[in-house]
């Protein structure tokens, strides 16, 4: 893409999320979300293949619907409180509508159907932007309206997301769809704790972004998009198999790795608020996620798929792709658990 256009689109993307996070007027938050959508659609259509077009169309339709619903909630809030400050909403209808609109934007169940298909149709780096950067703006609005969100609606949507994220990823071999279902499940975990302790939502979002960035960068090194291709990394870059396995286990939430930190904190906060059944079910359903991560780690690091003898004797070239921040990201996504007290106090 022309460098000027590329710079303009990236700067609009960054600027739009900043507008949403720092604004105190509902209209500016809505404008920021619109700019966000408008900036990422050309990025998704960098190579105008039919798949990318279809992914962009599905993304556009869902996000535009969510924007209109959000605007309706803002106007109903205006009718009942005659002010535009971003704080808790003053009408239950507006609150329910806005929660559903932001759930559509985030990809929470039952509005999750666009996430796997859109993530599948776009290149890996654009998928990274879609699953990490695009979550910042809606979660910042959810954080600010959290005192007025309906508890039953939120807990239903988040538990359903965890279930669907776990079960939906089981039947996939395409890595981008697996990452999409992983995103749905993590969004479920994040929004569960939103009404009890919103700082933990931010902590979970931060850790999730680090882990997903690591995973996508590892995948982009070899341009692997299927499990079959991932199982060939032992041949080209053997050390990547270890990193992939560690990052996948961290995403599954296994203890000495970073991914355990948000799950632990969330379960602790939920039990402090005397809800016992929900964290039990959440923890059990997280095992489904762990199963398909383990399957990927197994095929990458622990076994060799059958291949011809020719493929076992490749020239090992120096990697030509830029490994942006990969060592930092790997360390952050596997070794951050001892710093839990710092994060708990900071956020």
């Amino acid at each position: 893409m022309n460098p000027f256009i590329s710079i303009m689109l990236l700067s609009t993307l960054i600027l739009s999320t900043m507008i949403v996070t720092i604004s105190s007027h509902w209209l500016f938050a809505w404008i920021g979300l619109e700019m966000n959508m408008m900036a990422i659609i050309p990025i998704m259509m960098k190579k105008p293949t039919p798949r990318a077009t279809e992914a962009s169309t599905k993304y556009f339709l869902t996000q535009a619907t969510a924007s209109a619903l959000l605007m309706l909630a803002i106007i109903i809030n205006l009718m009942y409180s005659s002010q535009w400050t971003i704080m808790k909403l003053f009408n239950p209808t507006a609150s329910i509508l806005m929660t559903m609109a932001l759930a559509i934007k985030l990809g929470l169940a039952p509005f999750h159907f666009w996430v796997p298909e859109v993530t599948q149709g776009i290149p890996l780096t654009t998928g990274l932007i879609l699953l990490t950067w695009q979550k910042l703006a809606p979660i910042s609005i959810l954080y600010q309206i959290s005192p007025s969100i309906n508890l039953h609606l939120m807990v239903t949507m988040s538990f359903l997301s965890i279930l669907i994220g776990g079960w939906g990823g089981l039947n996939q071999t395409q890595l981008r769809k697996i990452m999409a279902y992983s995103s749905i499940a993590h969004m479920g975990w994040m929004t569960t704790i939103l009404l009890y302790n919103p700082s933990l939502t931010m902590l979970n979002l931060l850790i999730y972004i680090i882990m997903t960035f690591t995973m996508f960068t590892l995948l982009a090194q070899n341009s692997t998009t299927t499990t079959l291709l991932l199982s060939q990394t032992w041949n080209t870059m053997p050390i990547m198999t270890t990193f992939t396995m560690l990052t996948l286990l961290s995403m599954g939430g296994l203890p000495p790795l970073t991914g355990f930190m948000p799950k632990w904190m969330i379960i602790q906060e939920l039990t402090k608020n005397e809800s016992l059944l929900l964290p039990t079910l959440m923890a059990i359903t997280a095992l489904l996620n762990l199963y398909f991560y383990m399957r990927l780690a197994y095929s990458t690091a622990l076994t060799l798929f059958p291949s011809t003898n020719n493929m076992k004797m490749k020239w090992q070239f120096y990697p030509t792709k830029q490994m942006t921040l990969l060592p930092t990201a790997i360390v952050l996504s596997t070794m951050l658990l001892p710093l839990t007290p710092m994060f708990f106090i900071l956020l």
Binding site: L27, W30, I31, E34, M37, M38, I41, M45, P48, P50, R51, T53, E54, A55, S56, T57, K58, F60, L61, A64, T65, S67, A68, L69, M71, L72, I75, L78, M79, S82, W84, E117, V118, Q120, G121
Partner: protein, 98 residues
């Protein structure tokens, strides 16, 4: 909630239902999107004029600007789909299901 407000909210709900349940053409989804934004424009104008909230008189116009940009993007995507398939039938958008 007065009758006028119920009228406009009903218009919004009709457009939303049309957006969610279109049968074959993508164009009707885009039209319903525009209908939703139009009903929001009217609702916002009524609310702001009714409460004499003069400072917010610009808000519906700004809303309209961004809705127009969104419609332009929607049409551009529709044209890309038309380039590939020749029509805008939504049954054609089935590449990403497996």
């Amino acid at each position: 909630m007065s009758l006028v407000h119920i009228n406009i909210l009903m218009a919004f709900t009709m457009s939303l239902t049309g957006l969610l349940m279109y049968r074959s053409h993508l164009m009707s989804a885009l039209l319903c999107l525009e209908g939703m934004v139009l009903s929001l424009f009217i609702l916002a104008t009524l609310t702001i004029l009714n409460s004499h909230f003069t400072l917010a008189n610009m808000m519906p116009i700004i809303l309209l600007v961004f809705a127009a940009c969104e419609a332009a993007i929607g049409l551009a995507l529709l044209i890309m789909i038309s380039n590939t398939y020749g029509t805008d039938y939504v049954q054609n958008l089935n590449l990403l299901q497996c």
